[in-house]
């Protein structure tokens, strides 16, 4: 299948195999496609065996940090002396990322099955799926699917007659970017203001409602049934680059490409293939200039860096950025980089939760300085000021929101300094009114 365009031959469709197929949304349809085999198998296994299988598969967190999933699960207490919780992070609000949305829209049961397996593996009887507030359709689809799964015994007090109990709660967010940060998400579910918490304690020790908790991304959990069905060795073999990055990855491509959309590639696929073959290259008559490979929070890559990079966790880091959520924002030569960086900074300034000083004041100040440059009032000192602010905002706060604001600014100044210079020198027409 494929949505909104047919699968490209260079793709490796595992998770996205049924995108665009309305039949896959229903319980019966999903079972017809081989669904819930993995969960039936899982409830017959021990917790430890599932965790081990996922560890061996090499699956890493798809939300952005790339932390090994099996290892994360193994941090949960062996004995569930207190309630354990699984939280599925479906608050996909990273600019440029829209892969989880499609998973929930088209294959809700893949996520439910993955959640149920993970919940069992970590000793949790309850799973919360925290869905981004703006995701109206995915929420409707997921709600119906959870009802159906419950009615068919895939969830509830006695999962497929195994005696295991797994409840699933859908929780809708209210539109805050920061609630996608795992500890802020837990606060939000608890009914508190969505502020990130200081770590330690880590969620596996004291998470949701103070209980041991694991938080996984939608795409991570949706991959779990495939690992159980086809084996860890198979999953591990899906690797074209660094052996530490295995499996397939959904890439959300937006911006200046011929065919934007979601693509599923084997880890280690050259970025060049994604940009030119799958997405069809830049619009007619234009040339690529820059790529933000992993959602807006990672350093910007020049097109030269992007063309040389292999698309996996290590390959992108090697070229000076991060894989992140694999929300790829592509910019061609018509793009005003200063404007784009300002637009990103403004987003972070708007979404800062206001806890940490560096983030609350730093993101806003950064935005103002960029605004001034765009208004033609920039000064040479502004470079040092922006870099100082960015340094001050990196690695000094509770969560990484301020680091995320600093990343595009620092990389932007490093790689596209001449565009800033043009505004400051007055050789480029101001695009914003003076502040």
């Amino acid at each position: 299948m494929g949505y909104p365009h047919p699968s490209h031959p260079k793709e490796n469709v595992v998770l996205s195999k049924h995108f665009g197929d309305p039949e896959a949304r229903s319980y019966a349809g999903w079972v017809k496609h081989g669904g819930y085999q993995a969960l039936r198998k899982a409830v017959g296994m021990t917790r430890e065996a599932i965790v081990e299988e996922v560890k061996v598969s090499g699956l890493r967190g798809r939300g952005g940090a790339g932390f090994p999933t099996g290892l994360k699960w193994s941090y949960m207490p062996k004995q569930a002396l207190r309630p354990h919780y699984l939280v599925c992070n479906a608050d996909e609000s990273e600019p440029g990322t829209f892969k989880d949305r499609e998973i929930m829209r088209w294959t809700p049961h893949a996520l439910i099955e993955g959640c149920a397996i993970a919940a069992y593996a970590i000793g949790a009887e309850r799973c919360y799926i925290y869905i981004r507030g703006e995701f109206t359709e995915p929420w409707k689809v997921m709600s119906a699917a959870v009802e159906e799964a419950l009615a068919n015994g895939a969830l509830g007090d006695n999962v497929f007659g195994s005696g295991k109990r797994i409840e699933m709660m859908l929780h809708r967010g209210a539109g805050a970017y920061i609630c996608g940060e795992e500890t802020a998400m837990m606060n939000s579910i608890e009914g508190r203001r969505g502020n990130p918490r200081i770590k330690p304690p880590f969620p596996a020790v004291a998470g949701l409602f103070g209980m041991p908790t694991t938080i996984n991304n939608v795409e991570t959990l949706a991959a779990v049934p495939h690992i159980l069905n086809r084996g860890a060795a198979w999953y591990k073999s899906l690797c074209l680059g660094n052996p530490k990055s295995t499996g397939t990855k959904l890439v959300s491509v937006c911006g200046h490409v011929q065919r934007p959309g979601n693509y599923e590639v084997t880890m280690g696929t050259p970025m060049r293939d994604i940009l030119y073959d799958m997405c069809g290259g830049p619009p007619a008559g234009r040339k690529f200039k820059a790529v933000i490979p992993g959602g807006s929070s990672v350093p910007i890559m020049t097109i030269q860096e992007a063309e040389e990079a292999l698309f996996d966790y290590e390959g992108v880091v090697e070229k000076g950025s991060m894989l992140g959520s694999a929300g790829m924002i592509v910019m061609d030569d018509s793009t005003d980089m200063v404007y784009q960086i300002w637009r990103l900074a403004r987003f972070y300034a708007h979404e800062s939760c206001a806890q940490c000083t560096q983030c609350r004041e730093g993101t806003a100040w950064t935005t103002k300085v960029l605004e001034r440059i765009l208004a033609g009032k920039g000064k040479q000192e502004d470079f040092q000021l922006l870099l100082d602010l960015s340094k001050n905002m990196t690695g000094t706060t509770i969560c990484v929101l301020s680091d995320s604001c600093a990343a595009p600014v620092v990389s932007g100044i490093q790689k596209f300094r001449s565009e800033f210079e043009a505004y400051i020198a007055g050789s480029r027409e101001p695009v914003l009114a003076a502040v």
Binding site: I198, Q355, E361, T363, T396
Partner: protein
């Protein structure tokens, strides 16, 4: 384990502290103050101000000292270049929206932003050409104003109301640099302990209306004292300016009140400044009283104490010191004495988050002390003894019209030791005494913790502490070196008569007091 000790090195100083202690507290023990805003020892730590970032060897990045626990062998650098640079960065950011209105801000002089910027901030700002954030002043409650422009969002006030007062009316509203402290709709900051948010605020954002523009912090003298408001005995500082008490603030005592005090106690100081005071000893001369000197007055008092027979009654103020209560009682040892102390009553108001801390019903600071010294609490019973008493001593008690009428009709000799002019038409003597702000003394709180308070302002005219009056009489006529000349000496005399006080000196009590031993049976005296 809480008792396990670890060795850490902080700025080159090696210290041994309990495992798990936050670095910020361990640093205090090493004599290093880590600059901080959101951290407070009596509140949970959210680590949001990021001011206390310190360099910990082997840690990948700077660590917040308020929530990072010490571990064996840790080496911490509070004043390394990277830590200082981070703090300078935080200060620069805190100042970009902070109005530089220190000249009209009540907090100036005791402002942590001012202090740390002066200590290690940048001399100038790079935040030029932009308007600062502006929000109007808000009226939060009976005594609290919120000036959002000065707020650095440390959230101490929010956490106090939520975690300590258990009344979460304050919150952080909005996000990013638009954030401010909000108050829940239809709510007021009128909790009986709400005034603590003003003390907790490290800047001039939460202000006391009572203290608003009253004095500059650097003009204030601070005197360690004990709250005279109730039997809790919260430790306080009396802040005076030019001999006038202008403010009461809590003084930390982890055993009694931690860092807090209630609003009732906080506002209970105006009587200390009353101007209508008795300033000279007054003796009865026919139908009127005339001023005299202390020698004459003391002679008259001695005649009464030694010459009169029968029973005696002592009617004592709720705020009398242990020394005064004790020596006045001893002065009358040859009498059959009925002694009572006034106990005004009010509503109890606990502070939910601190077990054992409350504004108590009994609004007297020395009830336990009075009881140990043989005073009862049955005022009416004592008043019933007045018609048959040969001598009645009123120790600055607050007398109502009925009491005044009973004293006017008393057949015996009435002596009034008074701060403010009493009615006392037929009193033989009216002797000027100091109030608790004008003397040194001790109070015994409900847990039998005996605590010192110190003189905060000069006494008016010829007023003396009541213990001095009684001590002079006890020593007999003429100059006598055995008469106590200080509260400490007066206190030493208590031990001779009441063993519970024996072996303790004022110096032993320090600034936080100590708990008296168990009272032997029968030492409580007549009620």
């Amino acid at each position: 384990m809480a008792d396990e000790l670890v060795n850490v090195t902080i700025d080159g100083m090696q210290i041994t502290v309990p495992k798990g202690m936050p670095i910020i507290e361990a640093a205090k023990q090493a004599g290093v103050l880590v600059p901080h805003y959101c951290y407070h020892p009596s509140l949970p730590s959210p680590a949001v101000c990021r001011m206390c970032l310190v360099e910990v060897e082997k840690a990948p990045k700077l660590m917040p000292a308020c929530v990072t626990a010490v571990v064996e062998g840790q080496v911490v650098h509070v004043n390394s270049a990277s830590a200082k640079q981070a703090r300078e960065g935080v200060l620069e950011l805190l100042l970009i929206n902070h109005p530089l209105d220190c000249p009209i801000c009540d907090q100036a002089g005791e402002c942590e932003l001012q202090n740390y910027v002066f200590q290690e901030g940048r001399a100038g700002t790079r935040y030029k050409e932009y308007a600062k954030r502006y929000n109007p002043v808000e009226d939060f409650g009976p005594d609290v104003l919120y000036v959002p422009n000065r707020c650095i969002l440390c959230t101490r006030c929010v956490r106090f109301m939520e975690d300590v007062a258990d009344t979460p009316v304050l919150n952080v509203s909005e996000r990013g640099d638009r954030a401010y402290i909000g108050i829940a709709e239809q709510q007021r900051l009128d909790h009986p302990w709400a005034g603590n948010v003003v003390d907790l605020c490290p800047v001039g954002s939460l202000l006391s209306k009572d203290f608003l523009h009253k004095a500059r912090a650097w003009d204030l003298d601070k005197t360690a004292s004990v709250c005279p408001g109730c039997t809790q005995g919260c430790n306080i500082n009396l802040d005076t300016r030019d001999d006038v008490v202008v403010r009461i603030r809590p003084r930390p005592n982890l055993e009694v009140n931690r860092h807090f005090m209630c609003d009732y106690g906080r506002m209970n100081y105006r009587w200390m400044n009353r101007g209508d005071r008795v300033e000279a000893p007054l003796v009865k001369d026919g139908a009127r009283h005339v001023a005299t000197d202390w020698d004459t007055a003391l002679d008259r008092l001695e005649q009464a104490v030694r010459g009169v027979s029968g029973s005696a009654v002592i009617l004592a103020s709720a705020r009398a010191s242990t020394e005064s209560l004790g020596l006045v009682r001893r002065m009358l040892d040859r009498f059959q004495v009925t002694a009572a102390v006034q106990v005004p009553l009010g509503d109890e108001a606990p502070l939910a988050g601190i077990p054992g801390l409350a504004l108590r019903r009994e609004r007297t600071p020395n009830l336990a002390g009075a009881e140990l010294l043989g005073y009862g609490v049955h005022w009416e019973a004592a008043m019933r003894e007045v018609p048959s008493a040969g001598l009645v001593i009123v120790l600055d008690a607050d007398l109502g019209p009925e009491d005044e009428a009973a004293l006017a009709a008393a057949p015996g000799i009435v002596v009034v030791l008074a701060t403010v002019m009493p009615e006392a038409r037929n009193a033989e003597l009216i002797l000027p005494v100091t109030n608790m702000a004008e003397e040194n003394g001790t109070y015994v709180n409900r847990d039998r913790r005996i605590q010192r308070y110190q003189q905060a302002k000069a006494q008016p005219g010829m007023a003396r502490p009541a213990w001095w009056v009684a001590g002079e009489v006890l020593a007999g006529p003429g100059p006598d070196p055995s008469a106590p000349s200080t509260a400490a000496e007066a206190f030493a005399l208590l031990g001779e008569r009441w063993p519970l006080f024996a072996g303790i000196t004022h110096d032993d009590l320090g600034y936080t007091g100590r708990v008296l031993g168990e009272v032997p049976a029968g030492a409580g005296g007549a009620r």
